[in-house]
Assembly symmetry: C2
DNA sequence: TTGTAAGCGTTATCAA
DNA sequence: TTGATAACGCTTACAA
């Protein structure tokens, strides 16, 4: 019903065998130029294009990459996804966007991707639980897994992420240089193991300067409201003299929420009364009303590296890449 | 190399023919329950799952929907994409995210989707140019096209979008009720034909109340900075007494930019000195610092309708659905 | 360079 | 309910 035009049809019209047609539409073709011309003409007339589905069945490669996402609300992810699809397309790959939620968990998603013969699965800023490894290690043949923008959980699953240790070194150096002395950390989730290690490295960097971190504030999730709520709660219970002079937020989304509360509800000036640093450099961070100092992940490099591994141009191993500090007036 | 386990393997282990196995894994199966049990056991042992690729080749249906996006920066799109993928998955469909850009235009995208045998193509808030219709109308068999959140360009391509006329009626009624009298419209792009008709209906609604629209401000694109620039320019050249008392912005993104400028650069109070209305109800619109009155598109209904048409549960024809006015303190 | 045969893993159809 | 044959449209040998 769909594409009725097959290589055979073109062959008949061009007066050649169908294998000539097939070869004409492939990379390392070896077809006499006269026949090639004939075929191309016939193909144009019939609007023939090779059926990639049939090709996939024969080659065992679909040129499709599945990308798993479990939270669409963080703007930095949009930027990554935009770049990912673009770069993938540049390489002749297509991106299957898989939405993880309560009805469709990591296991379902991976198994479904396997059934559809996707060439690879990228876990984008999402951590998968142990359940899946069981399936992985059993005979089941799954597409190769990759982790993007998170710490990988298993040694044989390569991950590509921003180097948090380096990032925190740069940030703390910047803050110390500005004279800040009483840092605190605003954290999204409590599970350090699955987290990004930012809190840890932040503390370590200060420790090496003989500064203890005042407090770790738990937001519970990476939403603006969580950042706002956590900040409100913290400021309410903390007398002015005990408050930190700089709050390192685990990401920009939290920072925005926290900053809003500090300014509008507690009348604080940023950065005089309290400074803020975020992470990710989302578009809003650049807005004049926030002007948030933040740290930008090396997006293009990260995505390039993942796709290189998927395409076999790079060896498979985990990598941490250095990002870039963006200084703005919130510090 | 990938999935070595085939229906034949399961059949051999279970001691039945491979067609029994195939049938066991399909909807309207007719298999004796004893054999079914045997097969299911064998399948579990071998970790067998039907190869959806092979199925697609035989059935001519991939259960994959392509969605074309040409601008990732507008937050409302995230919400749509999140819901789209979720709802599609619910129906056993998978979403292929296609990024339109200078290297990959509508034509390339549609042709590629056709080669991959996608079941349908959704143009999400993007307008395609005439060039493509030529291919469409020729013998080429393309997957059916649908337009989401935009006016459709061709009669045989169904579109599903928010009813702009209704929306503007509600908005203007609200504004008139609040006593506003000198409205202006901040527009993203100049091409009314491809646009959303919001400007037109806004004017018409005021006209029916004997109010002429003061001005149409052109931003040129749908970015925060464009909204800001356009607003700055407009306020600079317009004396206070000639300024509108309410600015209807074509979407929230523009509204945010415009509002920022009005407040921080011109010291205006919202809504006393100038009121703002947006469109889309992006998350930022709800933030206390904006509290933007806006109009929410009926996202779930729109997506449901599109997927119903794709799945054949609804007849194919264009639809305008009614959204919802969200009143906040910017008006 | 060209043609042939076998196969990818499933579905559709029809006969048993 | 079951089994067999013929697609689906292409690729990958290998032979001519």
């Amino acid at each position: 019903m769909r594409k009725v035009v097959t290589a055979k049809d073109v062959a008949d019209l061009a007066g050649v065998s169908k294998w000539i047609v097939i070869r004409t539409f492939r990379e390392g073709a070896s077809v006499s130029s006269e026949k090639r011309v004939k075929v191309e003409e016939a193909a144009k007339v019939l609007n023939y294009r090779p059926n990639l589905l049939a090709r996939s069945l024969a080659t065992n490669r679909t040129q499709q990459i599945g990308i798993l996402v479990d939270d669409f609300s963080n703007p930095y992810k949009w930027s990554f996804l935009e770049r990912f699809t673009e770069e993938a397309q540049e390489r002749g790959l297509v991106t299957v966007l898989i939405n993880l939620n309560s009805n469709f968990n990591h296991v379902s998603a991976v198994l479904d991707a396997a059934q559809r013969q996707l060439d690879a699965i990228v876990l984008f800023d999402t951590a998968f639980r142990d359940e899946i490894i069981k399936d992985m290690q059993m005979g089941e043949h799954l597409p190769p897994l990759y982790v993007l923008a998170r710490e990988g959980q298993f040694p044989d699953v390569p991950s590509v992420l921003c180097d948090s240790e380096q990032a925190m070194k740069e940030i703390v150096e910047h803050l110390a240089g500005k004279g800040y002395k009483r840092p605190a950390f605003l954290s999204g989730t409590e599970t350090l193991q699955l987290g990004l290690g930012r809190a840890l490295y932040f503390q370590q960097s200060w420790a090496s300067r003989n500064v203890g971190v005042v407090a770790t504030i738990m937001a519970g999730s990476y939403r603006v409201e969580s950042g706002a709520d956590a900040m409100r709660c913290f400021l309410n219970r903390t007398p002015a003299m005990l408050r930190p002079d700089i709050i390192m937020c685990e990401n920009d989304v939290l920072a925005v929420g926290a900053m809003d509360v500090a300014r509008s509800e507690f009348g604080m000036r940023v950065p005089q009364d309290m400074a803020f640093v975020g992470f990710d450099n989302i578009p809003l961070a650049a807005a004049p009303s926030y002007a948030l100092t933040t740290y930008e992940q090396p997006r293009d490099q990260m995505i390039g590296r993942i796709l290189d591994m998927i395409g076999g141009q790079a060896t498979k191993h985990s990598t941490r890449l250095r990002g870039r500090l963006i200084e703005r007036s919130s510090t």
